[in-house]
Symmetry: C2
Subunit: 348 residues, 2 copies
Amino acid sequence: MTEDSNPITYSRRFPTIEDVARLAGVSTATVSRSLNSPARVREATRQAVEAAVKELGYTPNFGGQALASNRTNTVGAIIPTMENAIFARAIQALQETLAARNVTLLVATSQYSPAREEDQIRTLLARGVDGVVLIGSERPASAYELLDARGVPFVILWSAPANTPHVTIGFDNASAAAGVALRVVEMGHRRIAVISGITRDNDRAQARVAGIVAVLENAGIPIHPAYLTECPYSLNDGEAAAIRLLTGTDRPTAIICGNDVLAAGALRGARILGIDVPGELSITGFDDIELATAVYPPLATVRVPHRRMGAAAGDCLMRWIVEGKRPESITLPTEFMDRESLGKLRNT
Amino acid sequence: MTEDSNPITYSRRFPTIEDVARLAGVSTATVSRSLNSPARVREATRQAVEAAVKELGYTPNFGGQALASNRTNTVGAIIPTMENAIFARAIQALQETLAARNVTLLVATSQYSPAREEDQIRTLLARGVDGVVLIGSERPASAYELLDARGVPFVILWSAPANTPHVTIGFDNASAAAGVALRVVEMGHRRIAVISGITRDNDRAQARVAGIVAVLENAGIPIHPAYLTECPYSLNDGEAAAIRLLTGTDRPTAIICGNDVLAAGALRGARILGIDVPGELSITGFDDIELATAVYPPLATVRVPHRRMGAAAGDCLMRWIVEGKRPESITLPTEFMDRESLGKLRNT
DNA sequence: GTGAAAGCGCTAACAG
DNA sequence: CTGTTAGCGCTTTCAC
């Protein structure tokens, strides 16, 4: 036990709980209790510890804490993308809810790829997250098995419980999209096309299309297969899809889009072709992100409870993690936002 | 040493490195080496370990690893907001670069508030991040002191080295904005207004305004104080600011905006007032996010090297963390994107 | 209400 | 190339 074996180099070691204990004249156990459950120590003791902490600039070592407590106070979320604002507000609300409980949010992206998502799940689990937030319910069983094997609580956002046994915090995509279709039909449109996001591996996109189709069928409106298109969620793809639809024979008078980005792209496509919206063509979106009112005409769309989903996800997850019992799924309402991009069918 | 002291409850304990070692018939050290520096073990050994790992479904415990190695393989980034896409591409590129090195990115937001940013820095440091990425160079000294006290490597994005001794990976906001102003002047405009983001605590916004003002002064164009406005980075605020400018006396013929969101807002404001862009009014943006071409007319703006900044940040930071020596700052080029929202001054 | 002490799972000298 | 052996810093029984 050589002391000061290296008197020259000043060791850049951060104060540990032991340093605090020594300075405060208590044991490390008391420091720990003082910090984690202050109610269990005498007030005077707590203050002494607090003073020592402050004087030393002590911060608990994350690794030590994680190792000993078997918790990281970290929750992971995997969203398809950060490139558009769709998930931003939900993530923001989630982060705020978690921060209030002193847990940190790790955000990863999957780029709408199931394989990447599974990788990200693996990474998060390796990081020892205490809980996980996912978007949508459709993914390979192997992904769910990873989560199950670790026994890590997880919740699914953006979907409703219909198709999955897991805990969902979302809304009914099918009926929300059906609501849009109904408005479009009510406006007198009969030649109605759909630009959906890629439906493969995406239960939300599938449900939205299903909701729309059901309404059209119910209204006795024939659905020309060429009217049912899908493409990646990007401005350019939306534009291209719209141009394809609008230059075909029997041009639609309304295009229902799977989200606002596609709708904004479709709007651009219509402009390129010199087609007036809503005079000659109605376009609707979905999500009600800022973009919906940045374009002209502003997009009729569906307001999705972004912030409430994020906040509820944080609450549910933390309750699950702390109390150990699985929460109930939550289905939130959506709201149709009637705006200028949707208009009455012009008498032609 | 009581074995099987609890034969009833099946302990849900995850396999540890010791389990792997036992099954593979080697020591824990060899397992560790096998996993972390495979080159240092015999191939046969490595395979045996790999087999054992697979059979047991072993994943290293994060806390243990962090504690023993004093590294978390985690880097934190604090961006002002996720609500618009400004930082999304940079973050995406950063994440990819880090992932390639097996490090995880922790993203936090400050909502453009220095106090929140400082909190987030504290949180990240408590998380034991190995490095930090910040946006912009202007913040209270106390924030830098936090970082310095921990000796954690950090890089600053979006700024140039002019105003800060720290490592920056960005571009010259002043000259990029000056480039825009120059084009506007070249188009014949003399009544030129500015809608900047809030300049307080924001060196990028300050630099952009400074760049613009310098060009105008140099061109002998008087700058009416009422023409120099600033507001938060939002569509609504941009719209309101534009309406204020456009309903005042001596209406400007061009508005240079601090970013694309403000410009899109200004465009909306002009539309509300029935002012044609670019016929009666030119508007420019900054950033070249997707929004710039989603609106009509598409925004003349400045393309910022989002992805390259993100990737370079990851590279520099990892080199700094691993090799221990501070990298040089990097200044990347920007590009003016000439689009329809900027037009020649109409002969009135 | 507090202290002593036993690990949590891993890495990194150090020997061999 | 591999094994032995200390800890890393913290939480948590278990006594007192």
